[in-house]
């Protein structure tokens, strides 16, 4: 997924190849570019999207939106879910609701940053919403490649975020130059902290439904 709302007709492309420290392709990494001509937040197009709940998991696990966008949280399970966030970027919770309940209003995300959402009924459910402040963003695919097109040549600041990136606020930045004559390719190796999520599988101790 990539978002680019430049009104100019530039043709350069940035491809960032992302891998972990063992060389494995890394999906779900967000890249965001700043400069040389930044569009102010109020002039960036918003995009309304959905994060579904399927088999007691959020789908997708990472969603990329621009500030001011809205998200709906439909429920495709035949049980109740209760979506919430404690994140300072956006604190909210939905009422308890079930499948085909269309009455839930979309939630607006006005501040840039990362929002971690969960389900209050199913503790292992976890997803991230990356609210960008630039008009140039992308998420890496399963092959670990994130691509942003229609870039003007020049010097940029590249911001990289992953939910397990071993850095302050799971974010790293670096300077990058987009060539006038050819597409730019960058390879980055990210050091990740280990994934520690609340376990979903049953155990002999906890036979009750989870």
């Amino acid at each position: 997924m990539a978002i680019s709302f430049s009104s100019h007709s530039f043709a350069q492309t940035l491809s960032v190849k992302l891998a972990d420290s063992d060389g494995n392709d890394l999906a779900d990494v967000v890249i965001e570019l700043f400069g040389p001509e930044n569009v102010s937040l109020e002039n960036i197009e918003t995009n309304d999207v959905e994060i579904d709940q399927v088999d007691k998991e959020f789908v997708p696990g990472i969603t990329l939106i621009t500030a001011g966008s809205r998200i709906r949280f439909p429920n495709s399970d035949d049980i109740l879910h209760h979506v919430y966030s404690f994140s300072s970027v956006k604190t909210f919770d939905t009422p308890l609701y079930g499948m085909a309940d269309e009455s839930q209003p979309a939630v607006s995300f006005d501040m840039p940053g990362v929002v971690e959402i969960g389900c209050n009924i199913h503790d292992w459910m976890l997803a991230y919403i990356y609210v960008g402040e630039s008009d140039k963003m992308a998420i890496s695919d399963d092959s670990g490649v994130a691509t942003i097109q229609n870039l003007q040549a020049g010097d940029y600041r590249l911001k990289v975020w992953h939910s397990r990136l071993s850095a302050d606020e799971n974010t790293m930045t670096q300077s990058i130059t987009i060539s006038e004559t050819q597409d730019t390719e960058v390879s980055l190796s990210l050091e990740l902290i280990r994934d520690r999520r609340i376990r979903r599988a049953p155990s002999a101790n906890r036979k009750r439904y989870r």
């Binding site: 969960g118 503790d123 376990r199 599988a201 101790n205 009750r208 439904y209």
Partner: protein, 329 residues
Amino acid sequence: MPVELICKAHIPKVLFCLYTTAMITSAPRLAILTVAALSSSLMSSTAFSNTFSQLSLSASEEGNITRSLDSAGELNSQIFRVEYTHGKLVQLNVDNSLTLSGLVSASKYDDFEGFDQLRWGGSLSYIHKSGFGPYAPKLGFDLSFSHSELEGDARDNNLVTASFSYQKRISAAWLFNGGVEHQISRADSLPADPNTLALIYDDPSQRQPGEIYDFEATTLFTTLEYAFENGVLLSADYRYTDGVIISTTKHPTLHLYKISEAVYSDSAFSEGWYAYQIEANTSAWSLGASLPTGTDSSINISYSLYNIDGSEHSNYENDIVAVSFVHNF
């Protein structure tokens, strides 16, 4: 003993005064009616409820199935068990949920067919979550009933269990659970046992009842779990029970008979064995490891050690090693 005295005698039991008062006369029947009535109303509320099933296959080795006092009488056995649970969770609102489930279980004892048993029952669990998120504490109340059917009648029993629990996730890795549990077991009335009467030379003044599974027990329990990044879960569990022990001996004595609460020929063994019940406090320690084999299944290994301090300095030990596979459908 009057109900009021039971409630005053043991502080933990005060928590169960109301429950005990209701249950004391016809505990299993009342529990069945309670679970049945609630299940009827729950089953009708199909909206936003989640039906679930769980299959558990286990194999274990128990070191002292006789609960024998001395090593000469200790007999060990391999036990194979299949257990199926089916239930429904109803999310009442944001903070509260009810789970109703029924189970059937079959156990096969290697070499001791008299212990082979079928068990069936049901349970109702109420969970209150105090706040948002995975770290909000949960308060639980469980009421369950089960019936165990073995060869012969001496070990058949109806068991009602009520428990209060407190659960708090400390981090994504650590989980604490603790609480108190009260059990009431009732056995069918048994005919007079000529073998046990012979032990006391048929002196009616010393006669003990034969219903070895008539008892009450209160347990304090605590569990600490640690989950690794790869999902492997380690658990440590401690349970202290103020209750009874049901033991078996081939060499009954008049002293043993006198300190027993009930004695009967043990139908689980061959002729000449006697099952008896005495008051006892039990400390049970368990260590376990659970290896997830998917989001809905796991393989579990555990070791449990029981130290049982019975009346008149009669001390028992038992240990159980178990491996099980649990799958949620």
